[in-house]
Amino acid sequence: MKHTISVLVENQAGVLSKVAGLFSRRGFNIDSLAVGVTDDPTISRMTIVVNGDDYIVEQITKQLNKLIPVIKVKTLPENEQISRELSLIKVACTASQRGEIMKIAELMKAQIIDVTDRTITLQFADTAERTETLEMLLRPYTIREIVRTGIIAIEKGSTIAYNPK
């Protein structure tokens, strides 16, 4: 089962390798990992999606908490989070196919951000599931390249993961 873990860390060099190293040496599999700075420039947030049972998630949480630069670890339950992933997808596209692909883009609410005589590039920000759907729809035209950021997620409602005060 997939779990989304939100991790707040000190924004320092070497933290990413500490976190990533922990996953590999304890035999946990990362599906995706996204990092970015927060509103507090000294803190970064990592959103990690992992595959595993409850034991694995508990161990990951505890082991992450042991790393000194890790400030807060929070597992975001599936139905209490809003998640998004940004994808850039370059599809092979002749002039005659352009209309069809534009229709798919419109249907899925993807944006067209670049066009050449042989390709068309789409930008899509949505859930992992909808990203898979878009990919499926575009596959018949030959996907030349796809770049995904990995999932980022936030809790629904007014709760926040960490309040330093």
Partner: protein, 537 residues
Amino acid sequence: MITGAQIMVKALEKENVSVIFGYPGAAICPFYDSLSSSISHILVRQEQNAAHAANGYARISGKVGVCVATSGPGATNLITGIATAYMDSIPLVAITGQVRSDLIGRDVFQEADITGATEPFVKHSYLVKKVEDLPRIMKEAFYIANSGRKGPVLIDIPEDIQKKSMPDFDYPESVKIRSYNPTVDGHALQIKRAVEAIAKAERPLICAGGGIFCANAQEQLRAFAEKCNIPVVVTMMGIGVLPTNHDLFFGMVGTHGKSTANKAIHNADLVILIGARVANRSVSSPNRIADNAKIIHIDVDPAEIGKNMPVTIPIVGDARLILQGVIEKSDYKAPDSWLDTLRDLRSKAKPYNDRCDFVNPKLFMCRLSQHMEPDGTLVADVGQNQIWSANHFEIREGRFLTSGGMGTMGYSIPAAIGAKIASPDKQVVAVCGDGAFQMSMCELATARQHNVPVKIVIMQNNHLGMVCELQNKHYNCNRVAVCLDGSPDFTTIAKAYGIRARTASNDQEAESAIKEMLSDNEPYILICKVCPDESSI
């Protein structure tokens, strides 16, 4: 103006460090140049042994052990020693020189990414980038190493940072790390639940690990066991929490443990684990034990609870404080019938048989402990000698040190040197096999140079005994690469280092050699001829 190197030395002084173990090199030279006379430096003969010596020193002194090495190979040689300390939760600060900041990443002479290489084995590490950060980093390193679950912290300091000056130096009085707040006090409700579970138990058992020593909770453990009449078994790291001859003590558990201890843990209806990690050598079938018993697990590291064994009542915090709480709230007494069963099993232990052709290592360990001062320290190496020591050395008021988690061969001699420096008035004896001895015999020079009178017992069977046993049992007696032919004559080696030595070929000779070895305060090597077919159990 003060340089980075001077700050390092001042910080060590502020942390009450009086001895460090190390080996110099180009990238750490500014630090060595600034060393003051208030800190004595023990020059080891290989960096790994600096970490082991600091480990032995830390375990006996209760202070943070400090080891120092240069960049590149000096630093990488430390790795096994750091990993050994990590596995046994020993507080160390390892200081390494690094190449100049502007050269990092260019693969220059003696450059190694030591913070990267040690990442899995350190509690925390620093690569110092600014001289201004040094005071804070030094302070934090000592605090992190010696708080919560203790462990090694590495500080990697480029040569130019050591040379750089800053106008003023203020050593921080306290540490504040927002992301590091180890739990100390046990949760009151969990303690209450534990007391209730203990009250209902019919066959309770305490299984104590090395965490008891980390928390300095020997007294509380003993008080708890005695007040509640609960039998105690230990993991290898827990040996010494109770005197071996204590009525409630039933030995070491595990694959190489005592059968009474293993029967106790498998028949208990309540197991109270304290500062023990439940690794496979100590508890080989944790789920089977948990099926039959409730488990109370007390540990300062929440990640250890539930990692290897299902647990009924977890209590995170300092073992000393938690045990204090349990003692105050509990007025339980375990039924005598349960203890009688265990005592009965214990009394059936086989007596030692004297040998005339070889030294019986089990009898030897028993006799050695009887001849040693009650507060002496035994440092066991790894291999059959470790098991003989663990099961047959009788602890009274002293300590038993060994590399329990990592199982690092060659640990005993450097660790004994560190232990002896930490307690110069107490006897310190290292026991090793002829394999491990040859891994760290270079440290005889360290003992000589710095006048550290450690006593060394070599169990000589000309084989890697533990591996032999394994090959006999699981690999159809196919003995490969376990014969130590080509080993030097150890008495000649001892003589070359100016150390008195004697060989014992049977139990009688061994006993008089023990007496001679312990009769003065000089280094001594006692070689025991042991039968290659002697089993570890």
